[in-house]
């Protein structure tokens, strides 16, 4: 082979590869999704001003979703932040707030009301990210995002490697104490798809938690998210979280 022939072949191959590269082969599921995409995108709205830290949501979630009641794991929990005048930030969540907050003692410290700058409760749950890192890292395809934006775990397929638990920036995943597979909040998939609201939303007496459909412009939750000042947790991670908070503070992580 001479030099001219070699360059010709290489050039031809590059051109061919370029031509093929401009086409993207769609899997049947992808093509189907492009044609008829879901008209539901679930999103959550939390009002931290309204939350009183009674923990009824945590109790309801654990009982509804069969998370062993006394195991130190939970799909949703409530954090307390107490920011003191001297700049100290105290934060705790005893038992995930399953039994509520019944004592002013925070992180073992007896807090004098006069020393408090601001103090509030922040309920946490899965953010059902648009770009879920937990799904990205799963080596076996056991965790996935449904068309309605909810991230679920396939208990029969999960190998219990724990990558997703490490990958979640919000720390919402854990091992189920009975099944020993990755476990997480599902926005009560079995309820919201059957005309009910989630167990935590129903249990909340103070309307601090709400769930809605972002693709419905008339949904009251969507209206708040679109027209009022809301924030999300760890926006800078690029995960596009879908739990929106009213009254979030920079001390909340």
């Amino acid at each position: 082979m001479n030099r001219r022939k070699f360059l010709k072949i290489i050039g031809g191959m590059a051109a061919g590869a370029g031509a093929i590269g401009t086409f993207r082969f769609l899997a049947p599921g992808e093509a189907e999704a492009l044609i008829k995409s879901s008209n539901i995108r679930w999103a959550f709205l939390v009002d931290t001003y309204k939350c009183v830290g009674c923990g009824m949501c945590v109790k309801a979630c654990k009982l509804e979703n069969g998370i062993p009641y006394d195991a130190p794991v939970t799909r949703t929990w409530v954090e307390r932040y107490v920011i003191l005048k001297d700049g100290d930030v105290l934060a705790d969540t005893p038992k995930g707030a399953r039994d509520g907050f019944t004592s002013p003692v925070t992180e073992g410290r007896q807090v004098n009301p006069a020393d408090i700058d601001k103090a509030f409760f922040v309920p946490k749950l899965c953010n059902q990210c648009d770009k879920p890192p937990c799904v990205q890292v799963c080596p076996v395809g056991a965790t996935y995002r449904t068309a309605q934006g909810i991230v679920l775990v396939d208990r029969t397929w999960c190998i219990g490697c724990g990558y997703c638990i490490m990958a979640c920036p919000y720390g919402v995943r854990f091992f189920h104490p009975v099944y020993h597979t990755a476990e997480k909040c599902t926005f009560c998939y079995h309820r919201i798809n059957h005309g009910m609201t989630t167990a935590c939303v129903q249990a909340c007496p103070f309307d601090a938690r709400k769930i809605g459909n972002l693709k419905d412009p008339n949904d009251p939750v969507t209206k708040v998210i679109m027209t009022e000042r809301v924030a999300v947790l760890k926006d800078e991670y690029g995960t596009k979280p879908q739990v929106y908070y009213i009254g979030l503070d920079r001390n909340v992580r």
Binding site: A27, V52, Q136, A199, A203, G247
Partner: protein, 157 residues
């Protein structure tokens, strides 16, 4: 046949075995769905598992069918915002299973909301309660004086 071909057949046989095993083990619905390999690689049939999961909390309209006295009492009281199942636990198939729901008379149940936590900007600060509950009739169940379904101070037990 030349002995040099034998390893080739061995390799082909192994490949065929892997292929057959894969077809049997991998569920037919396992594939690449909506969002490609990065986010859409899964067994679509599993969604049905979560859809079929049994709901346990019924909501208080269900209770109203058989306990209308309690329902109307609480709906006309300061506790109107609290769901029955918050205090009594999930109904599941009550009254078939369980025939009776739990009755929690502990002070801890009430103190979830009625310990005063003086947190400015938090609604907790607005609830009636006690900075130190041990000073409000300690050792006695709250419901021996207050009616949980109608906790008005005028109508004490």
């Amino acid at each position: 046949m030349s002995h040099t071909w034998k390893p080739v057949f061995v390799v082909l046989a192994i490949l065929a075995a892997i292929f057959i095993a894969r077809t049997i083990i991998v569920p037919p619905k396992f594939g690449i769905w909506e969002s490609g390999y990065m986010y859409g690689w899964h067994n679509k049939a599993n969604e049905q598992f979560w859809l079929n999961y049994k709901a346990k909390y019924k909501g208080r309209d269900y209770c109203n069918g058989c306990h209308p006295d309690k329902y109307s009492a609480i709906m006309n009281s300061p506790h109107a915002i609290i769901q029955c199942e918050d205090c009594h636990g999930p109904a599941i198939d009550h009254p078939d299973n369980p025939p009776k729901l739990a009755i929690d008379k502990s002070r801890a149940l009430c103190l979830r909301c009625h310990v005063k936590l003086p947190y400015p900007t938090s609604h907790r600060n607005d609830l009636p309660g006690f900075l130190n509950p041990d000073e409000h009739n300690p050792g006695i169940e709250c419901v021996s004086c207050h009616n949980p379904h109608s906790p008005v101070l005028g109508g004490m037990r």
